[in-house]
Symmetry: C2
Subunit: 337 residues, 2 copies
Amino acid sequence: MSPTRKPPDPVQDRRGEFALIARHFVRPGSPRSPGVELGIGDDCALLTPSPGHQLAISSDMLVEGRHFFPGVAPEALGHKALAVNLSDLAAMGARPLGFTLALSLPAVDDPWLAAFASGLFALADQHGCPLVGGDTTRGPLNICVTVIGEVLPGRALRRDAAQEGDDIYVSGSIGEARLALEHLRATPWATAALPSLPKHLRDRLERPSPRVALGQALLGVAHAAIDLSDGLAGDLGHILQASGVGAELQLVNWPLTAELKALPEPHRLECLLNGGDDYELLFTAPTSARTAVDQAAKSSATPVHRVGRITQAGGLRLIDATGNARPWTARGYDHFI
Amino acid sequence: MSPTRKPPDPVQDRRGEFALIARHFVRPGSPRSPGVELGIGDDCALLTPSPGHQLAISSDMLVEGRHFFPGVAPEALGHKALAVNLSDLAAMGARPLGFTLALSLPAVDDPWLAAFASGLFALADQHGCPLVGGDTTRGPLNICVTVIGEVLPGRALRRDAAQEGDDIYVSGSIGEARLALEHLRATPWATAALPSLPKHLRDRLERPSPRVALGQALLGVAHAAIDLSDGLAGDLGHILQASGVGAELQLVNWPLTAELKALPEPHRLECLLNGGDDYELLFTAPTSARTAVDQAAKSSATPVHRVGRITQAGGLRLIDATGNARPWTARGYDHFI
């Protein structure tokens, strides 16, 4: 709506929507990725999934001031907008096929767009996941990515497949993104713990690494999986609820970075259990699969740690170093509270 | 980010994101649509396309104040958010499989959400296109729908397939949405032409009917197709550019509603050619296919009108009632000018 004037050849006009797309989002050689018959520039993109596969689809919307700080580096934002979606594919064990990008921008800012596209495409290339279409419009900054992947029928890692007796694993390390967030917000306990924010912690918040290879390596090995986006306790809670089981988490032997180890326990537990933005995988697997899990971790070059086990229904219990259970109430992130 | 508190059972909490989704977007019986193995509630939705089919994918983002007036009826908005995406599938001749919805809302407004969902699902049901996943967040009102369809390889109606000598057709009637828009904006020529805005014109703007059945009926009949979203002249221009051809449009025998007929010619042509928001199909087909086009129109219960023909390269020419050509410069809608 709000029809306005457009010159006959919009690609020649640096102000126009089509020109913006051509400058920043149409790449030489595209859409010649395997499986992409038609990319940007028609009413729809056309993708060809592998024969006999199911589709895995996820959409995430990132809003300025809520999912990222105003002024965040646009290259990091481009990376993260795709990373959080690839992380959803990873959690199903799906192979990425392609993604769409819908972008609402307050104005055309070419240096910003070039940096955003560079972060976006670097991660897309790393995962062989081409941009196939989307939309641009003027409005408050908002980034909506929809990713499409494929997986063989019956093989996807679902939330409802955890079984009593399963081990619980977490990939990589968690909690750093939350510590970085609190530091950027100048929360007193975070700035007291760290005089300045090390780059590797900030990168954990702004440039998460989706565990796509691990997810696929876990097909046929793991039972249930979820990606850690809203905080471990809450996300594990989704598996427990969907699978009708409970869980015990050991508070020893966690994969902790030095900065997390140095935090007072309440803040450390808050970062670990209610942190959010980790984009690691939490998954369950039978004890008989321990060797297979190790092999999946090795083949995907992704560290994994056994952190607990699935129990009968009964919620989530934390087991401390003395073997005593303590209750824990999940308080993950919610956009509407 | 911005982690805040969430009670243990978010579905019991009327304020929470998961509760919002459960109240308004999870429907009894879902995801038991054909082809949907897993709907809302896991990291990804799982869809099963028909064997041997390609995927057609499109995303559109609607922003308040740009794509719709603040205060527009939420039921109409829910309808339109999906309709504009289904229209993209229609333009490829694809069959809808499902869609995702990412929604940014300034606040949780249950009556608004209930009406929005009702408009959305009524259209989704009409086209057998289930909601399979998405995202909700707090922020300026923004609606991003991604639709997934399927089509047999090599059959999709692309923009680059028009051939010299093809007839040009338009479905339904066009221009009414633009007239309604100008009336709602109180543009003097529109309010001079119509003392009040009839509901059928307003519905053309707010409740477009995507031509999904026609698109599929045209497979193997039409050469090229596009949906009319940005204005006929500009959208036809995309076909001409992609196919390396020109076109002549006859200015007689247009499918005009009475209100359009009554407009002074400059405004009538503006509505017809630069209107936007029509969500009709424009397609080309060889003259040998005229009977087949009629049959496709009949089988899909969608009127179509032959309005011109594809010529050698040379842009777009309008032929008036006296047979004389007049030049026309496309001035479709652009979000960034």
